[in-house]
């Protein structure tokens, strides 16, 4: 489904602090599977995630989605693809402070112009499903870490994306909450969603919910 | 159930726009209803040969600015300083009020 061909990514290119985060990655990610990128920090797994999720463009190489090359598209089209295809759960959750959980969940759908009633209905259903219905009007800074993550997950799902991208989803959670996250992950798998996540948490990468683990080090894939 | 923020915003804006429109309507109506007064004043100006408004009565050149010669500051009234912009900024001191003339000068 997602194909990467000789993808390289440099930061501060041409300057004295030039740094190659990815140096030639070729990878094929299958649809409806849970794929984990594993590696120490600085291995380039988050950078790879941003390329897959159309948050950034590769310096060289190709990224294609459903056989269509998307690495050279202008920002507007990338944004549209990102909005329709990917849902993101960030490591720091990145919720908008001062707004309610419900508003945060609805945010990604605002630019689509979906009718408000329908949108709100869906956001409520999602929160309900993640057992957060009672917290819908709470401001995000009043939520616990686990609740914040579940709001972030609901937000990632509001546009009903094919692919869910999670960056270090259990890094800020204790074991109980991490297990709860894995349970949610399995339910996505059951729904037939593609999940791509980064982690070095054994609880995640060794779980049966994860179908494939890709190891990374120094911006390269590690062959096993 | 609370309204959407945009609905609240529209309500506020609509109220303000309504008030604004009411002002304009009020202006139109007052202009009509006051037309007779204005006509009467114009007629009085014609009958008496008035050349000025009775806005500022402190001195000759402020009572009848159109009749005063240009650039002259006549201190007819003890409080009248002069006609130039600075006169509007300098308020007379209270001491000046005390030694005011009591007989016609």
């Amino acid at each position: 489904m997602i194909e990467l061909r000789e993808v390289k990514k440099a930061f501060n290119q041409g300057q004295h602090n030039e740094f190659w985060a990815l140096s030639g990655i070729s990878l094929n990610i299958e649809a409806k599977r849970v794929t984990a990128l594993r590696g120490p920090s600085g291995s380039g797994k988050t950078t790879l995630l941003t390329l897959i999720g159309c948050l950034a463009r590769p310096t060289s190489g190709r990224v294609s989605l459903h056989g269509r090359d998307i690495s050279g598209l202008p920002e507007r089209f990338l944004t549209e693809i990102r909005r329709k295809t990917f849902g993101f759960v960030f490591q720091q959750f990145n919720l908008i402070k001062g707004m309610s959980a419900l508003e945060n969940v609805m945010l990604p759908a605002y630019p689509t112009g979906r009718p408000h009633r329908e949108l709100k209905q869906q956001a409520e259903t999602l929160l309900e499903r993640l057992r957060l219905g009672h917290r819908r009007d709470a401001r995000t800074e009043w939520l616990s870490g686990g609740e914040q993550q579940r709001v972030a997950i609901a937000r990632a799902l509001i546009n009903d994306p094919e692919v869910l991208i999670a960056d270090e989803p259990t890094a800020n959670l204790d074991t109980a909450l991490a297990k709860e996250f894995m349970a949610i992950l399995e339910s996505f798998d059951a729904e037939g969603r593609t999940v791509i996540l980064t982690s070095h948490d054994p609880l995640v990468v060794e779980s049966t919910a994860v179908h494939r683990v890709v190891d990374m080090r120094d911006g390269k894939l590690v062959e096993r | 159930m609370s309204l959407r923020p945009s609905t609240n915003g529209f309500i506020v804006l609509a109220l303000l726009a309504g008030a604004c429109a009411a002002c304009l309507v009020d202006a139109g109506l007052s202009c009509e209803s006051r037309a007779a007064d204005i006509d009467a004043m114009r007629a009085m100006a014609g009958r008496l040969g008035l050349t000025d408004l009775a806005l500022f009565t402190e001195a000759r050149y402020t009572r009848h600015p159109s009749q005063a010669d240009l650039h002259s500051a006549f201190q007819d009234h003890p409080l009248a300083l002069e006609h130039f912009p600075s006169g509007s900024l300098i308020v007379p001191k209270h001491a000046d009020l005390v030694r005011e003339t009591t007989t016609p000068d």
Partner: protein, 378 residues
């Protein structure tokens, strides 16, 4: 269009929810902004209405007033002048005017004594202006005495009080009979204060004035259009003073607004990054911010304008009376006819709304074009 509309509504929802997070701060900004519009609009509305009223009333003024000057000072018109003007072509009517000032020590105010040309005031009586009647506490048929400049006491009966509606032009008038006037001021017989001329053809007015200046070299003709222009410029500079004083306030507000609108905090930058990462386009963010700027400035403008209108035309402009009326003892009490100059209001709108929107937009532009992957890396 429903999708477009719904999208804009969502953006407005977001921007309002976002503003409500710092409720005190944003309401404060709105208040200061509205106050600024209120003051500016008040000045504009008040001076325009007053100027308009002056222009309309003075349409009734004589076409030409002829003064005689001696050593650069206004002097009496001696006998014979009126007869000499009488032969001038184009002049329809000539009238010697009698008027002067009287300082009333009782209320410490100056009055304008005047003899109406139509002889409508009987001997021994007065017709007085409404502000004067109020100040001296006079009513119909009351007796009133004035000590003349020669020291003699003169008694009069009030025959009428001029209508309150005419106060703007008649506040301090004392209309007297010609005989009384001459006796009271010891005015030499046959002399007049000045001469009012009516000219039938408006195109002839300038010719008549030129001929008058030739015929009577010691005189100064004042045209009606000059009187009207005097009023236009008087309020222009008084308005200018107000604006000059206000410019400090405007500057202070601009700094506040610029700081508020343009100084993007790290939090706001991060939020923009989040919005971009979750699928907002750069254009959506700019539109959202435009709505923010537009809503704040339009709300402030409308509120300020309505408040200014009510203040100026319904409450009698208490804010500007001291500045615009000067510091005379005798204030005319008048209600302005609300004449609104659309162009002035449009100008005010332009100069208050657009700078704010620009201040909102410029920094957002820079922030909104950053890469969305910044949130992941942070």
């Amino acid at each position: 269009m429903p999708i477009w509309f719904e999208r804009q509504r969502h953006l407005i929802d977001f921007t309002l929810a976002s503003l409500m997070r710092r409720k005190g701060r944003n309401l404060g900004l709105l208040l200061v902004y509205g106050l600024l519009v209120f003051v500016l609009a008040s000045v504009t509305l008040y001076t325009h209405a007053l100027r308009h009223e002056a222009a309309v009333i003075l349409e009734g003024a004589p076409e030409v007033v002829l003064q005689r000057l001696v050593a650069g000072r206004h002097d009496l018109i001696p006998p014979g002048y009126i007869e000499r003007i009488g032969r001038l072509r184009g002049v329809q009517q000539i009238r010697g005017r009698l008027w002067g000032y009287y300082y009333d020590a009782v209320v410490k105010a100056n009055y304008t004594f005047m003899v109406p040309g139509d002889g409508s005031v009987a001997k021994g009586t007065l017709i007085i202006g409404p502000a004067l009647a109020r100040q001296r506490g006079l009513a119909l048929n009351n007796g009133v005495s004035f000590r003349s400049y020669s020291g003699e006491l003169f008694s009069f009966t009030v025959a009428a009080v001029l209508p309150q509606a005419s106060e703007l032009a008649s506040a301090d008038l004392v209309l007297v009979n010609e005989e009384d006037f001459r006796a009271f001021f010891a005015y030499p017989a046959g002399h007049y204060t000045d001469v009012a001329l009516s000219v039938a053809n408006p195109k002839e007015v300038r010719n008549v004035a030129a001929k008058l200046a030739n015929l009577l070299p010691d005189s100064r003709p004042i045209l009606r259009e000059e009187m009207q222009r005097t009023y236009a410029s008087v309020f222009d500079w008084r308005e200018g003073i107000m604006l000059a004083l206000l410019s400090a306030a405007i500057l202070a507000f601009s700094i506040l607004a610029w700081e508020k609108a343009s100084g993007l905090s790290a939090d706001e930058k991060r939020e923009i990054g989040i919005l971009k990462a979750i699928g907002w386009e750069t254009g959506d963010i700019i539109k959202m911010k435009l709505w923010e700027g537009g809503l704040i400035s339009v709300t402030a403008f409308l509120a300020g304008f309505v408040a200014a209108y009510v203040q100026v035309f319904r409450l009698g402009a208490p804010l500007f009376e001291p500045v615009l009326k000067g510091w005379a003892v005798l204030y005319p009490r008048f209600e302005l006819v609300p004449v609104i100059d659309g162009l002035q209001i449009a100008t005010l709108f332009f100069f208050t709304v657009f700078p704010y929107m620009a201040a909102v937009l410029v920094p957002i532009w820079r922030a909104a074009v950053t890469d969305p992957d910044a949130v992941m890396r942070a």
